[in-house]
């Protein structure tokens, strides 16, 4: 029975670790300027975790194999050094790893969430609601019209609650259902929620941020590869949560300018 336990644990540990190592299911290619640092952190953590995981499971398996009850009553032996090697191993080995990972990781985190956006970043606003994302661009005047909750109306597609009758800054705002951005352009996304908590997640962009009603949460990033990527909601927001999706369309500079011009003309 002990030998069976050892074999099963070993097989499980090795099989799981192999699947991780071979990247059979893995993160999609990174299209952001900060993503490579996150990926490096992820890979380093994976190596550390893998060593600890396989090491612990194999140690467990080996001891269970070796120390099953046997016919000849072997004398009981205590682990050499008592608990001290465990304490030292855990504190030094794990503690040291923790220290390194935390120090490096905190810089990666700060890069994304604690640094100001690059100057000249393109400002885009986002409204998250049950169950869609909407985006708006400032238009020719470069200013966003004020948002009025009492004017928000999905049927008339006034997702941002703009006072088009009286607010001149609002009239040229371009409101769309996709996040269209130029490649290699720093973006500042100011995120609002109309109703409940939502979250903005684009796996390829290596970015995620909850959107809290009552707060305006800024997020900045730069995309490096043109293409169409899915943006999904990751904060449970109601029955349509699974379906709450938009697309991030990263266009070349000229394509983006063309698109923006067409949208402005259609207003």
């Amino acid at each position: 029975m002990g030998k069976l336990f050892a074999v099963v644990v070993t097989l499980i540990a090795l099989a799981s670790a192999t699947i991780f190592a071979l990247h059979i299911w893995w993160v999609p290619p990174d299209i952001s300027t900060h993503g490579s640092r996150i990926d490096r952190q992820l890979n380093e953590t994976m190596v550390v975790a893998g060593v600890l995981f396989v090491g612990a499971q194999l140690a467990l398996a080996f001891f269970v194999w070796r120390f099953g009850a046997s016919a000849t009553a072997r004398p009981i032996k205590s682990f050499p050094g008592g608990p001290t090697p465990m304490v030292v191993l855990a504190t030094v080995l794990v503690g040291a790893e923790i220290l390194v990972l935390t120090l490096v990781g905190s810089k990666v985190w700060a890069d994304v969430y604690q640094t100001p956006p690059a100057p000249g970043a393109l400002q885009i606003e986002m409204q998250a609601e049950q169950f869609a994302f909407y985006f708006r661009y400032a238009g020719a005047d470069g200013r966003f019209g004020a948002m009025h909750p009492e004017l928000m109306n999905d049927a008339s597609e006034n997702f941002f609650g703009l006072d088009l009758a009286n607010d001149t800054t609002a009239r040229d705002d371009i409101v769309v259902g996709s996040l269209v951005i130029p490649v290699n352009q720093p973006i500042v996304l100011r995120m609002h929620s109309k109703d409940v908590n939502h979250s903005f997640y684009v796996p390829e962009l290596r970015i995620q941020q909850d959107i809290v009603p009552g707060l305006v949460i800024p997020l900045h990033f730069t995309a490096t590869t043109p293409g169409k990527y899915e943006l999904v909601c990751t904060q449970l927001c109601g029955l349509g949560h699974y379906n709450m999706r938009a697309f991030v369309e990263v266009k070349t500079r000229s394509d983006f300018d063309q698109w923006l011009k067409e949208k402005a003309a259609a207003l």
């Binding site: 109309k194 409940v196 979250s199």
Partner: protein
Amino acid sequence: MTHGVTTAHAQPQSFLRRHVFSVDHKVIGRQYLDLALVAVVTGMVLSWIMRFHLGWPETPVPGLGKLAPTGAAGGVITPEYYLALMTMHGTIMVFFVLTTAPFAGFGNFFLPLHVGAEDMAFPRINMMSFWVTLLAFLVLLSAFFIGDGPPLSGWTAYAPLSAVGKDAGPGQGVGQTLWAVSIAMFCVAQLLGSLNFIATTLDLRTRGMSLARLPFATWAWFITSVIGLIAFAVLMPACILLILDRVAGTSFFIPAGLVISDRLQPHAGGSPLLWQHLFWFFGHPEVYIAILPGFGIVSQILPVFARKPLLGPRVFIVCLIAIAFLSYTVWGHHMFLSGMNPVSATLFSVPTLVITIPATIICLLWIGTLYGARLRFTAAALFALGFVSVFVSGGISGFFLAQPSTDIYLHGTYFVVAHFHFVMGVAAMFGIFAGTYFWFPKMFGRMMNETLGKWHFWLTFIGVYCVFMPMHYLGLAGNVRRYSAFTDDYLQPLIPLHRFITIAALFTGAVQLIFLYNLIRSRLRGPVAPANPWEATTLEWSTSSPPPHDNFGGHPPVVTHGPNEFGGAGPRDYVMQAEPQ
């Protein structure tokens, strides 16, 4: 000279007083375990329906259409019903299984025995806590049948989704209020329970039972009670504030200007993040409440079947205390991306990673205990050993989530689901299984069937790895959690893996029937159990199986040894705690 409490209650005579409204901690402990058994079956069936729907969303579940005509017309679940099932699954499992069975269940039965007392310090309050818990469970279940169904906001019930009322969606009317009332009642019951555990451990220890000689499980229950005392004391007012927001028009958690279902909500000024802070200040210690008794049970069981002492018993206790203390400093790691100040994320990540150290030490102590052992492979032993394996697996995935930088990608994905299911849904369950196989003879005076137990172990052990290890891979691929269906393009290639998980889950669930059958059959026809079938040392094994009404037959034990005396040479390789000098 007697040292126990003078018997406040002689053995009652009526059936009701002996088996239903009993103040005997042993009856109360069994009642909690029975409640947890009903709860875990309920929670598991909910998860089968959920997993089936995820794998085959258009296929009707046989019979479900009749049970839930609104939520599952024709047997196919609506998105809101999926979320409702998910909310109830989480709530039932976390509260009525993982907080109830290893802590209220085994703790109530064995803590007084472990300390050598005749009963808990406050037997009537103890009885009350069980009945309040049961009532809370019934209130929660009533959400299935009242109004438009159970809430869909998850067991975490984030505001404002949970606070604004029925505009937010089906189940968010009376269902959510019932949820909040149920949880508030549960908090009260737990606080009363903790009161009993702490007072009994401090005041009712028999002669010779110093704190240093307490069994490891009792240390774990004691420390868990202290954690609970503070944690549940925070959740209860949070639930009260939530209920007030829902029914009394206050705005603790609801900001101004919300437009839901095209209606401008009449609230203003509240903070959704306040709910998250209050909830997780409770929620993180809660997961340690769920696992610490398992630590204690494993530390209690391993030496018995290894026939040698636990390695580093004092270190173990210190680590438990360190974990308990640190558990209050880490709650923000559930909120890295919540919109709170990003600096806080780094601050919270430090103690989160530090808490790994005592947890690692404990795992190494267990593994080190096996060195030089003479292992006996009973079902209880296998589950204890399996606990080590699955806890290591679950704990290590925490590494990724504890760092804000990697959490950016993994938050809200199946990686999180994998992590907490391994540590709670698997490890904590293994602790419950180990405790059951170990203590069943003492509780019921009969032995469980070992062959069935071993089959139960092997199929479950392999099954849970097949269910939850693949979820890490899903998370790495960016599969978002709490989705009732996978309609996004990037999720399509992952559906075969989901189907594999569903099949594994249904299989592993079916395997539990072996356990259920074993429980029932052994109760009725198991071989009679001796007082100490495992040759263990703690006080419960020095009395009959099951113990008499006053635990020690009017002769409180005098303790002369600690609980860890195994591995001697000679025909008897252990010394019992109440061994005469």
